[in-house]
Symmetry: C2
Subunit: 589 residues, 2 copies
């Protein structure tokens, strides 16, 4: 049986020592009251709930899964109680608008505690995450009536929400959806069509489910400029907030999936269901992206959270499992039958890879979280810069963290050898659960194209340059080989970008052909910057006598010796251009 | 539902055009009668059986799995009939000793057709592969009596065999097994202990099961120099070959695994079971490695086979799935709602990665197969060289092919987006099934250490140099940038090896710390050599007017542009040494 201990101290380190969240929050009016002590209490409460209520249901939720019965979905045993414990704790409203019953806490803090619930039980936590995203969307784009009606109930967790984009013929390409919305003349619309891969589309945890559905009006222009967004509740809502009749939306089936098997993924069939327009007609993608950007960071954190619990179990196994002898002579160990496998260089390589990625990815996620807060509550200049940063870094955070999440789970599984492949030890579930994060909320290929095409090339690299300059100036005054390597990596990113920008004008296939390599390069560069920063903070702690360890220094050395070198090959691959990708005719594959 | 078409033409190309197997076989007496026509008939028969009998049971075998019932194991529905079709076809004896009823065909041909069965249904095919390995072991190490008794029945598939090494406390480290064998004074031994992770340890497909069990004699020296090998049949065998009483060995349970769920993996409990010594006392590892080396190449081919079927399904999906628009202007497509995703550079990147690895890995496996034949049936000088080559390349073939196998399945799954994550489309099963190949028969970390420590450094790099020189001289006379890149890659391997060899004398942790990077580098270098060779063969075909395609040329260009560059980072990581791997204390992970 696996175990999980939420990394509260690590998160505390990242928030308050690495990024000085206390000063940051005190600079933003709504967060003035959130100090380290309060945040620490939040993290500890989350840790307790995640470890004690969520984690024990992770393997059982996977094994038993939800059950579909004529349109009804029964969640696995225990999920209801754990969901209720979560909502009782107020977690759905913790970052919500205070005006509507939320607690108005920083997103940067949410980013921290979300990791714990993903680690403890992704299948269960997914019943809450889309509600959180929907709250952000509704707060930004819904009418006052809808906000007053829905937000308090969503924050309480009495209602939940979904995101209905995909149709069988339309996934990455939303321009070709066929779900229709006909105006009824009374301000409402009749929504008809079928959506698939709808996370928490139907379940028994809440009184009502609000579906946020993309559909086309009768006179909509073709493509993505003709998509509108509708709120379609499972039960119609009376003016007093009580529930009326069942609306014309029903779960057609649930998917048999590789992982996140505790989560119910529905086909949702709409048959003239009553819906309410959110935002403007034909402009539905923009509000949906408010939600998507939040969800994308969250999905990166899913990868990180699962990678962390996988790492913990691999590490514990490596400390206990006796097998073989350490390299070199160790006469003092002749009494034991074998050494713990954590002495073996290749096992250490696997563990250090996980540790070096996870810790820096955690810092990266917190940084993006801080930019989400600044984009909303910073001063005027700061808001614009932070919004740029969020736009630039969200696709990297989603794709890079979920790629590392999956790979780290595979490495953790490998540490356990055969035991990693059997269900009992839990590692194989982490591999299955982490895999989806690379696929949903926009595949990592889509994220990478968004990054290079929309976020980097479209503005001539200005956002990127600003961020690179921030990283460079952040390392000003630091000395040493790691700092030099981090700066060289930033320079490499800049020069690769300049070349891509120039060549792409004549070669429209180049951005797509380079996209995933570029995202991977970008992520590694960011982690180089963060590792130097982390080591500096550890040094400062050491000078104060608080921490005699050089754990971060050692881990950073591993990152620079063994992981950052990947950027050489990535740069070479990007430099090789698009010809070799584009020339083979489709019928010769 | 996935589909599968065995790559018969590709295999024919590799055997007869790339490696001129016809001349090779005609140089070895036992294979003089095996020409291209016969081999082609063998491949076509295998293709038919794999496609028609094995493949339709792949998803059902995974879903239903074997059932354990008080020591009995019932294989999934249909497996028995498919197994019987396989044995009726004589496939178990096809490469077997003619003296004992085998057909004496080349291993190089076996390597080719094995791919098809792994692709079609790994869970089912595993019920046969250990029998094939056991036949090789028994032919080389068993007494004449045992050979006469067992080999014909194993070749017929009436009996099957297993390999019983692992115990709960002893996996990678066989020196610490505790299973005991007490001599009974009548030439037999009483074997007592418990083995785990035993593939096909118990099932209902054969009349008898022969377990090849590692155990310790009462006076055995400690560690791996005190291990003996025993044949322990499920049913005792009378002198006339009929079956006697049930022996004292029983399946204690079967594992719930991530994948290969059609295959039954047992805990096997031995309670004074009657066993017969194979080979010499305390020297049981050597014969076991005869079997292991064969199995290791086979497991590499498992990775390749599953990656091939995954690729085919991803490619077919990418041709049909309409989503988004190709980069650049394509006015002629304005009529269709969207383009097939195979036009998108990132989708092409994913497919070409799979194609470039699979095709060259197929050539690599065939090359190792040819060396297995030459090591046995070549002339005297040729035998020694080929045996060296087999020893050197087996760990690379196992680890590199299974690593690429898994990664390619993950890429194929990614091409399908959300459809790749649900069971119906089959891709998620391929990911789960391919994963085990990186773990069993010695993890890929163990393979990599075997490669660098035993196969490269122990003889001062002589085997490696000989192989590198063979690759170099094979490319003599070829011109062009790909040839130059392939030679530069070989040179890099040579220089990395020289540095490692020198530094390892003072740094015992260095080989282990570099092992997996080194194996990965080695594999990429071999594929570089093979891609140049493949392109040359395609060119020669083109000159004859037989093939106007430059499919191989295009795929090779992709390999050199996008995949071979990985060796730069691997060399840099290896060059960074072992310090960063070894310094973090175990309690700070």
């Amino acid at each position: 049986m696996p175990s999980y201990k939420a990394p509260t101290d690590e998160l505390d380190f990242v928030l308050f020592e690495l990024f000085d969240a206390e000063s940051l929050w005190s600079s933003m009016a709504p967060f003035a009251g959130v100090n380290r002590e309060l945040a620490r209490a939040v993290l500890e409460a989350a840790a307790k709930l995640a470890e004690q209520e969520f984690f024990p249901l992770n393997q059982t939720g996977d094994a038993e899964g939800p059950r579909w019965d004529d349109g009804h979905v029964h969640t696995p045993p225990g999920f209801r109680q754990a969901y209720e414990a979560f909502t009782r704790g107020g977690w759905l409203g913790i970052a919500g608008e205070q005006e509507y019953g939320g607690q108005g806490m920083p997103k940067m803090l949410t980013v921290a505690w979300e990791e714990m619930f993903y680690a403890a039980n992704t299948g269960l936590f997914l019943y809450t995450t889309l509600t959180a995203g929907a709250c952000i969307l509704l707060a930004a784009h819904a009418s006052e009536d809808i906000k007053r009606m829905c937000l308090p109930r969503l924050y309480e967790g009495r209602w939940s929400a979904t995101m209905d984009l995909t149709e069988s013929q339309a996934g990455s390409d939303l321009g070709i959806i066929t779900t229709k919305a006909e105006p009824r003349g009374d301000g409402s619309f009749a929504v008809t069509g079928s959506k698939m891969f709808i996370t928490s589309g139907e379940h028994d945890l809440t009184e009502n489910i609000l579906h946020l559905v993309l559909a086309k009006l009768p006179d909509a222009p073709p493509g993505s400029r003709g998509i509108s967004l509708f709120l379609v509740p499972k039960f119609l809502i009376n003016d007093d907030g009580t529930l009326g009749e069942r609306n014309g939306v029903v779960s057609g089936s649930i998917e048999q999936k590789m992982g996140i098997r505790g989560s119910a993924t529905s086909v949702m069939n709409y048959d003239g269901a009553t819906g309410y327009l959110i935002g403007e007609e034909n402009r539905g993608l923009a509000p949906m992206f408010t939600m998507m950007n939040y969800e994308r960071l969250s999905i990166g954190i899913q990868g990180l959270g699962i990678a962390e619990v996988a790492y913990q179990n691999a590490r514990d196994y490596a400390r206990k499992r006796l097998q073989g002898r350490a390299p070199g002579e160790r006469p003092e160990r002749a009494q034991s039958p074998a050494d713990p496998i954590i002495v073996h260089p290749d096992v250490r390589r696997m563990l250090l890879t996980q540790k070096a990625y996870n810790e820096a990815c955690r810092a990266f996620a917190a940084y993006v979280g801080s930019q989400l807060d600044l984009a909303r509550h910073g001063d005027e200049a700061g808001r614009a810069t932070a919004a740029d940063r969020v736009a630039l870094l969200t696709p990297v955070a989603k794709a890079f963290l979920s790629d590392r999440g999956f790979e780290n789970c595979v490495l953790a599984q490998q540490v356990l050898g055969g035991h990693g492949y059997v269900r009992e030890w839990g590692l194989e579930q982490y591999v299955r659960d982490a895999r989806i994060a690379q696929i949903y909320e926009g595949t990592n290929g889509i994220q990478s194209m968004d990054l290079i095409e929309r976020k980097v090339l479209r503005d001539g690299g200005r956002s990127l340059d600003a961020f690179c300059n921030e990283m460079r100036s952040d390392l000003d005054g630091v000395k040493g080989t790691m700092k030099d390597a981090a700066i060289a990596a930033i320079d490499l990113l800049t020069s690769v970008t300049a070349t891509l920008s120039k060549k792409s004008k004549k070669d429209p296939a180049l951005p797509g052909a380079s996209a995933v390599d570029y995202m991977d390069l970008f992520g590694h560069v960011i982690l180089g910057w963060l590792w130097v920063r982390i080591v500096e903070v550890e040094k400062r702690r050491g000078e104060g006598g608080a921490s005699p360890s050089d754990e971060k220094q050692r881990t950073a050395e591993f990152y620079f010796a063994k992981l950052l070198p990947k950027i050489d090959s990535l740069a070479r691959s990007i430099g090789a251009g698009s010809d070799s990708v584009m020339q083979l005719p489709a019928d010769r594959f």
